[in-house]
């Protein structure tokens, strides 16, 4: 009997098998097995993720994958969130939309992060993708409510519209009215970022009322508290809800309506919003608290004891975002009440204040690490830290996947010993073998980087500021962190050596950002010349780099691997160090 080998299967069978492989990594691996698998796989791939929109061109993507239904694109580097990337840098989505309009008429999902999206792009999306179901614009900018109106009017199958953290130009316009009366398929709507003139409340009410599948609704700040009860009563099936402003004069009718409305939302698991919250209205959500798995109070200026009291009512919490008003005492209560906690983010209420305004220290984080065995992800802003605390935290939580600590005063030492925090962070990377993301702060020497290079083998993203003493630090990271994909560095004394010695490593990473460091223009040019598959972009708003000496440090440096070559949409303050740049100047 003739033995069947893998490649003699009919294509349809392999396609069917591949349809069970959802992970992009696995798909990529399968496509490398042999030519026929490559071919079959590329025809049946439906979903792609492009972590850096300049790493590949839309033409290349379309050429390889002819039938994509879901695309995710990311544009600007992460430090753009903190104003380190000037306006006009790039990350335009229009070229992608234009090309995909013709190639992927059946596109269902578009997810964009840190990209510039214009009204023209949105209009093109609405016109070209009649089957669009999901549109997520995460930290995007460049569009107005006119673009949203086009989406509302054109995308009859839209299920999810999520504008989280985006900057939308508020032209007055009742864009919500553009959803036709026959449109009933909304499942998820996040308009929390919109400004004042953008939302016609009556249109919102009607929309919510006619969409029976609406499960997620995040309102913007301008929706007044007394309107919420009505809204909730039209959507008692909500699972996730974000209020608007949560302040109003205490009125018993408003209060009781709200309490009743929340009580009727039997499936509510996640709450957010709470802008300007006043304690008086907090108890209306008590009926929901026991079921809550996610609570975002990071816009609520609520303080203790009200804040702690609220937290203590939520034993099922898995995800908690809060301001540092919670203080150590509140975190201790969190630690004893919320045994399922997996993610904690504590934001600073007064990030630029010179003096602490709340009593939030390392003790709060130690308490949570001790009391919450499932804790995996931490983002913590505070003003003091000790190695002892970090070591304890590391020993308590070996399962950390994300650990981001921001000590507000850069280069602050261990407050007990006045030493650097190398040992503390070293303990984190040593104990937390699955750590994928790490942000450092405080006084740090080259030593911590040696620990990181030695232990952080699964680390994918590292953020560094005001740390290290020499190139050796950067060298440790680049040579030791095998899984490193994204490295972002600001204000560190790292120069050319480590970068040039590890040039090959850069091709294994998505990107490297270095600003206010000591990398010379000459080194950038050398990298640009020798590494054709890297784009070396130098950013300087003061003037062209050729007006300065080769040994002068560049202001901002962004290096990323790309098969698309240097980009052509750079603003005047970005120069790409490709082969041409060096030769035309020498």
């Amino acid at each position: 009997m003739q033995k069947k080998t893998a490649y003699s299967f009919p294509d349809e069978i392999l396609e069917h098998v591949f349809s069970f492989i959802q992970s992009v990594k696995d798909r990529n691996a399968a496509s490398l097995v042999c030519k026929s698998w490559y071919e079959i796989e590329r025809w049946c791939r439906r979903k792609i993720f492009v972590g850096n929109c300049y790493a590949v061109s839309p033409t290349m993507v379309i050429r390889r994958f002819p039938d994509i239904r879901s695309i995710e694109l990311k544009g600007k580097p992460h430090f753009a969130d903190f104003n380190l990337v000037p306006d006009g840098w790039g990350g335009y989505v229009l070229p992608w939309i234009s090309k995909m309009a013709g190639a992927y008429p059946w596109l269902e999902e578009i997810r964009l992060k840190r990209m510039v999206v214009t009204d023209e792009s949105l209009e093109l999306v609405a016109k070209s993708f009649t089957n669009l179901q999901v549109l997520v614009l995460f930290s995007c900018e460049g569009f107005s409510t006119d673009g949203l109106a086009a989406i509302a009017a054109g995308c009859k199958n839209l299920r999810e519209l999520d504008l989280r953290d985006s900057e939308v130009d508020d032209l007055s316009g009742h864009w919500l009215n553009h959803f036709p009366d026959t449109y009933t398929s909304l499942v998820s709507l996040n308009i929390s970022c919109l400004g004042s003139d953008d939302v016609s409340f009556s249109a919102l009410e009607r929309l919510v009322g006619r969409c029976p599948n609406l499960r997620r609704l995040l309102l913007n700040r301008e929706v007044p508290l007394d309107k919420i009860a009505n809204l909730l009563s039209r959507a008692p099936q909500l699972i996730e809800f974000g209020t608007g402003t949560y302040a109003a004069e205490l009125r018993s009718d408003v209060y009781s309506n709200l309490a009743e409305a929340f009580c009727n939302c039997k499936e509510l698991k996640s709450l957010s919003g709470f802008w300007d919250a006043v304690p008086a209205y907090l108890p209306v959500i008590y009926s929901v608290c026991s079921r809550l798995t996610s609570l975002n109070l990071s816009y609520a200026p609520i303080q203790n004891p009200d804040l702690t009291k609220l937290v203590s009512q939520c034993p099922s919490l898995q995800r908690m975002l809060v301001l540092d008003y919670i203080e150590d005492s509140g975190l201790e209560v969190l630690a004893s009440s919320c045994k399922d906690l997996q993610e904690l983010r504590v934001f600073p209420s007064d990030p630029f204040g010179e003096e602490p305004n709340v009593s939030l220290t390392e003790k709060g984080l130690v308490a949570v690490s001790s009391g919450c065995p499932k804790l995996q992800s931490v983002l913590y802003f505070c003003r003091q830290m000790s190695n002892a605390a970090l070591v304890t935290i590391a020993q308590n939580c070996p399962n950390f996947t994300r650990f981001r600590l921001c000590l507000l005063d850069p280069k602050i030492a261990d407050y007990r010993t006045l030493q650097s925090l190398d040992v503390g962070f070293g303990a984190i990377v040593e104990h937390c073998k699955d750590l994928r993301r790490l942000s450092l702060s405080g006084l740090l020497t080259d030593c911590v980087f040696e620990y990181i290079g030695m232990h952080a083998k699964k680390l994918e993203m590292l953020s560094v500021a005001f740390a290290g003493e020499s190139d050796l630090a950067l060298h440790h990271v680049l040579s030791g962190c095998e899984s490193l994909r994204k490295l972002e560095i600001m204000n560190c004394p790292f120069g050319d050596k480590a970068l040039l010695a590890n040039a090959a490593k850069l091709e294994t990473m998505r990107s490297l950002w270095m600003s206010s460091c000591s990398v010379s223009l000459g080194a950038c040019k050398m990298l640009g010349q020798k590494m054709p598959r890297l784009n070396i972009e130098v950013m300087d708003e003061k003037g062209p780099p050729d007006s300065r000496a080769e040994s002068d440090p560049v202001d901002k440096l962004y290096i990323y691997r790309s098969v698309a070559g240097p980009r052509f949409d750079m603003p005047p303050f970005v120069w790409t160090m490709d082969e041409d740049f060096a030769s035309e100047l020498s």
């Binding site: 903190f82 600073p348 007064d350 000790s386 010993t417 030593c447 050796l472 040039l500 010695a501 020798k530």
Partner: protein, 253 residues
């Protein structure tokens, strides 16, 4: 915490390498002298001679449990001793563009890089908001905190919050500027300008408009009521107080 080094030697260079003096870095001649084989062997080597990288260093294991002493258990090492090669690692061995020399670089020998410390705080301060990009708080959150109602009257535990709102410029002084015909808006810091002249100069520079072309542009602004007005029609103080965003339009006629 023990440090085990698995070391592998790099492939021997095809051409004998001369030590590369970083001080002559910008010297193109030196680079060319290294020849077209530059891609196949390290241009600068980490560690003085490959043969010497057989020293295995062990760390003290005290670093993970001790809470005292910054860098306890971490000897500060020079580049010679850096664990560069790990035979288990899967890092491509070609394309090291840098060879360490045995000659210490200035910055390595100076642990207290005082110059850098001073510069980081002096150069990068952004008026009214501390260091640029620090702390890493999203713009969204900055805005929220500045608008937190003043709770000073009821709660005297928070004087700093009160000061934070009253004392420093609590509203962001950046406004959006658009130019007609240009899809992307820029942002400009109003607090550093004190007259229309200065503001216009900055805008012309920002959008690359030459002096000759200045006359063909007019500055307009949108006030809090949403109306668009000509900037030159109002006094500077009125302008500053009521403007929401700016737009440069081409003047007609």
């Amino acid at each position: 915490m023990e440090l085990q080094l698995g070391l592998a030697l790099p492939p021997p260079p095809l051409i004998p390498i001369e030590t590369f003096d970083l001080n002559s870095y910008g010297n193109y001649e030196t680079r060319e002298a290294l020849g077209t084989n530059a891609l196949s062997w390290p241009l600068l080597k980490l560690g003085p001679a490959d043969n010497d990288i057989n020293n295995i260093h062990h760390h003290n294991s005290s670093s993970s449990s001790s809470s005292s002493g910054g860098g306890a258990g971490c000897k500060k090492r020079s580049f010679d001793e850096a664990p560069f090669f790990d035979e288990k690692r899967n890092v491509p061995k070609t394309l090291h563009l840098l060879l360490w020399t045995n000659q210490p670089n200035d910055e390595d020998d100076d642990p207290s890089n005082v110059l850098h410390e001073n510069s980081s705080s002096a150069i990068f301060k952004n008026d009214g908001e501390g260091l640029v990009g620090w702390p890493p708080v999203k713009t969204w959150r900055k805005k929220v905190h500045h608008q937190i109602p003043n709770g000073g009257a009821e709660n005297n535990r928070l004087p700093a919050v009160e000061n934070g709102i009253g004392g420093r410029a609590s509203k962001s002084t950046y406004v959006k500027v658009k130019m007609e015909g240009v899809p992307i808006a820029r942002k400009i810091d109003l607090s550093v300008h004190h007259s229309f002249e200065g503001l216009t100069n900055t805008l012309m520079r920002m959008f690359g408009i030459s002096d000759g072309n200045r006359k063909s542009f007019k500055l307009t602004y949108q006030d809090r009521e949403g109306d668009w007005l000509l900037a030159e029609d109002v006094p500077w103080r009125t302008f500053i107080r009521s403007l929401k965003c700016l737009k440069l339009i081409r003047s007609r006629g």
